[in-house]
Symmetry: C3
Subunit: 251 residues, 3 copies
Amino acid sequence: MDAVIDRGTLRIGIAEEDFLPWIGRDKAGKLLGFEVDVAHDLARVLGVRPEFVETPFGDLLNGLVAGRFDVVISAYSVTAERARLALFSVPYGQTDYYLLLDNNKLPKSASEGDYDVEGFKIGVIADTIGEAISARSFTKAEIVPFPDDEASRDALSKGEVGAIIAATPIPNFMMLAEPDRYAIGSEALFSSSEAVAVRPDSLRFVNFIDAWIEENQANGRLQAAREYWFDTLEWEQRLSKGDEPADQPAE
Amino acid sequence: MDAVIDRGTLRIGIAEEDFLPWIGRDKAGKLLGFEVDVAHDLARVLGVRPEFVETPFGDLLNGLVAGRFDVVISAYSVTAERARLALFSVPYGQTDYYLLLDNNKLPKSASEGDYDVEGFKIGVIADTIGEAISARSFTKAEIVPFPDDEASRDALSKGEVGAIIAATPIPNFMMLAEPDRYAIGSEALFSSSEAVAVRPDSLRFVNFIDAWIEENQANGRLQAAREYWFDTLEWEQRLSKGDEPADQPAE
Amino acid sequence: MDAVIDRGTLRIGIAEEDFLPWIGRDKAGKLLGFEVDVAHDLARVLGVRPEFVETPFGDLLNGLVAGRFDVVISAYSVTAERARLALFSVPYGQTDYYLLLDNNKLPKSASEGDYDVEGFKIGVIADTIGEAISARSFTKAEIVPFPDDEASRDALSKGEVGAIIAATPIPNFMMLAEPDRYAIGSEALFSSSEAVAVRPDSLRFVNFIDAWIEENQANGRLQAAREYWFDTLEWEQRLSKGDEPADQPAE
């Protein structure tokens, strides 16, 4: 934490893949999303400049350990496996995961609520908690990993898989767009908690981050940011920014 | 923590201003209030004597950093800004803040629930989270800082301001006393979480304090203390103690 | 934590007394129970072998401090007194305590809900939080300490005491077995939070354990384990295992 303040820059590891409304880019490549706002606010309360280090999601932990950035803020789920190499703050977000079904691709057993049958393909995002839990929950269906969220949704919409594991708010948005085609297969299959990850020698920094999260949960600012990104689509207009030649370089 | 136990004394930074039912003094100057009971209990479980260091609220953080006391227990809100210099325990209290209005001073726009208008004066306590959030929530009204809670309430009762930002349970007590005059302007504007602050090299002490809070939340003792101070006025009779020449010196 | 991983073994301090469904043994002496499953899972995520060190409940703290094991996982309540010598993780369990009455032994005042009368005997387990809180809640009744849970229930069933302090799910199981005889005297008298205790120099290990608990609360695995041990009696059939000469040595 002292090193960050002395340097005047908070280096933030963030996924280079798009996972809107968490993380995305406008047409000029400028980062935006709930996680980006969270990261900006952490830099602000530290009194430093944010510097985003866009990194493949699967390389974030290695990058943190190697010192390429000070924190991971990237819809990064708290897991014991990651906690062997990094420290976690208290959670600032929770994500619920659902089985999102293509009604045209249902197996016969679907009428009994059973989707774990041979030949049924379920798309997941590789190297995520969704992949790990799906492998546990679905032992007969075929788990098909995709590099990112967009690829997984593409495969569902093209009929390449019969279902995907999708996190709030994606199922809602897809069912709104094609209500006859998509359906949710069950209650939330599981949830994950998102927190800030820091390097293992940074316990004092964790206490600072925990205080910042506690403050913003109590004063309502975190919930307000969440509502903007998860309960509205106001931010969609920002995606087309930079469509024309950009006035300023991307962040 | 070891230094505290070796010394046999827990030095507690506490506001010299009155904020009952959190912190006050009887007529002999003896400290009382919810925070005082919390601090006594922390000293008890450490097996040491409590020593209160009464300090202007705005100087508590500096006093902690300078080593004038071991902990701040003073209805002290968790904030990231404070956490740059101190560590925070998990919260042991939560306070909800309301806009408390004088019905005789309402602006015309009050009928639409809008109090953020030019010329409307809103009293706050200087250097508190209430002042910071009010400055954000009310950009047209005039924010008037007062040195302490009593001065802010005085200004409201004398008609010097049209409203104050007041924390539970003050709005309830004032509306009970003059139901025609005072009203609450909205849902809670925001909340804050109160925790113990310790010096930044005291991570192990934070874990101890967290355990003590966890124990007393589970076993109901913290809630019982809260009910005594916030849901009853039984303690009011203690304020007049020391009215006559004190038998014993104030603490 | 590094020492545990280097050694390849997590040494777990666990009560040698039976407190099912938390901790018990089958007829071959093999450990089982909710706490045993929790401990196995912690060893698994650390990538090491669990080694259980069965210890009298009252000696667990001393054993941890003396380095005889790395963690205590033993339905171990978070208390400030214990936290003077050990660090605690966030809680992974909560237990509610009730006054379980023998309807044949009720004092006259029972009709007014008052069981704190001279001559009324209340059984507790020695050196537990139940004993400490009972001493505070019942000042006229006689608090009778027993070495373990089974002895306390035996005394109630033999009529040696008129009531015992019993934790969920024991009151439910006993009232199911003899509905006319047993009754609950009140709302939960108090609760306790169970967490992992580690040695005081292990703050980084606490952050790892907290992450592991957070993950398993979010993904539902902790709740599933809890339901198996507390809401079903499926595990009872496992108790008779080892009844015949054991094929393999007890763990």
